[in-house]
């Protein structure tokens, strides 16, 4: 039992770290010498490394908001998990934790979908960077973790 709890907790922390790295790292769209993320677009040319703020379009702000919300909800669900671990009655289910975790996964999904559809398209050889991939990886992990919390019961 303790092993299962520990495993679930470690999974949760890993998801939180993935979400934070994905939100903050500057690698959502990469080209040969430029990297773009939700906040800045940086260019490396013969004059050095320049960054300027990302465009103020509506969809980038929506993606920013959704990623931040997903990080917040994952963090809230971690706190709710720790709280319910010590306060829940015997045999109870971790509903609050599950709800927050599933909401976090929904937000990551929405953010990643919006970015996929409206991706900034200046340059032919731009690929998706690792931060974008991390967002897509975090989404099913978050969903599975939420479902585990629905099924999990507190024993002993």
């Amino acid at each position: 039992m303790l092993l299962i709890l520990l495993g679930v907790l470690i999974l949760h922390v890993i998801i939180l770290i993935l979400l934070i790295v994905s939100t903050a790292a500057s690698a959502w769209s990469v080209a040969d010498n430029s990297a773009k993320d939700l906040w800045y677009k940086c260019l490396t040319n013969n004059r050095g490394y320049h960054c300027q703020p990302s465009s103020n379009e509506d969809w980038i702000q929506a993606v920013q908001a959704l990623m931040i919300l997903s990080v917040l909800f994952c963090f809230f669900s971690l706190i709710a998990f720790l709280y319910q671990l010590f306060r829940l009655v015997k045999g109870g289910r971790f509903f609050f934790t599950a709800i927050f975790q599933i909401l976090a996964s929904v937000f990551v999904m929405c953010g990643a979908i919006i970015y996929t559809v409206m991706r900034p398209n200046d340059g032919i050889h731009t690929n998706f960077g690792y931060a974008y991939v991390l967002a897509w990886v975090a989404f099913p992990m978050c969903l599975i973790s939420g479902l585990i919390y629905i099924v999990l019961r507190k024993k002993e």
Partner: protein
């Protein structure tokens, strides 16, 4: 106190040497406007001298991407001369008050070609040494949304909904628990009355109505307490 302030100001005016007295001109830094709207470009100055009658204001315009500037407005000798040949003919109006050191102009019916830098130069003889000040005009088809407005709005709405749901949840739990408590109290009161009546002996059959009246009175009292 007032005399002290007056003395210090007179002393400062006397101490400050003539060469460092310069006229300081203030305009905005950047102005944003929509196509077709009007905008007022303000210009005022600070000078140690009183406003003279020969005060002059002049505005020049340099389009974006060009290196030449043209003069579009001049106020001198108490009369204002607006542009009647250049890009702003019939669109420029003087709305300033030179007596109050205000040399603002009004540009009407803006076009996309009006993007550029407007420079205001004011002179207050004999205080003529100064640096002209420039304001940049940006004309948009639609006003762009500032960074972070939508982000903040989405985050605020979602967190607000979360707090609202939690509050409503706890409120419902509290109300339901209270209703259960009041029902159990009234049932307990009923049982007590019935027990005491049985001990008294045979009673007229008008009792059920009396008991009902008593419980309804109790409920009324509790609802009054709830409303309070």
């Amino acid at each position: 106190m007032l005399t002290f302030l007056a003395l210090t100001s007179v002393a400062l005016l006397g101490i400050v040497p003539e060469q460092s007295q310069a006229i300081a001109i203030y305009t905005g830094w950047e102005r944003h406007a929509l196509v077709g709207s009007d905008i007022r470009l303000s210009c005022s100055f600070f000078s140690w001298r009183w406003t003279s009658e020969d005060v002059t204001f002049s505005w020049t315009y340099r389009p974006d991407g060009s290196r030449d500037s043209i003069s579009i407005f001049h106020y001198t000798g108490g009369a204002a001369y607006v542009d009647n040949k250049g890009p702003f003919r019939d669109r420029l109006e003087f709305v300033g008050n030179p007596g109050r050191r205000d040399g603002s102009i009004l540009l009407k019916n803006l076009e996309l070609n009006d993007n550029g830098t407007f420079t205001c130069d004011a002179k207050n003889p004999p205080d003529i040494v100064g640096r002209p000040s420039s304001v940049r005009l940006l004309v948009f088809e639609k006003v762009p949304i500032q960074a972070g407005v939508i982000t903040g709005a989405i985050i605020g709405v979602v967190l607000g909904l979360l707090v609202l749901i939690v509050v409503i949840y706890y409120l419902m739990r509290f109300l339901v628990a209270r209703r259960v408590f009041s029902l159990s109290v009234s049932k307990h009161g009923k049982k007590k009355k019935e027990g005491s009546q049985q001990r008294q002996g045979p009673v007229p059959p008008a009792d059920p109505s009396k008991v009902k009246a008593a419980t309804s009175e109790k409920k009324k009292q509790e609802s009054r307490k709830d409303k309070k």
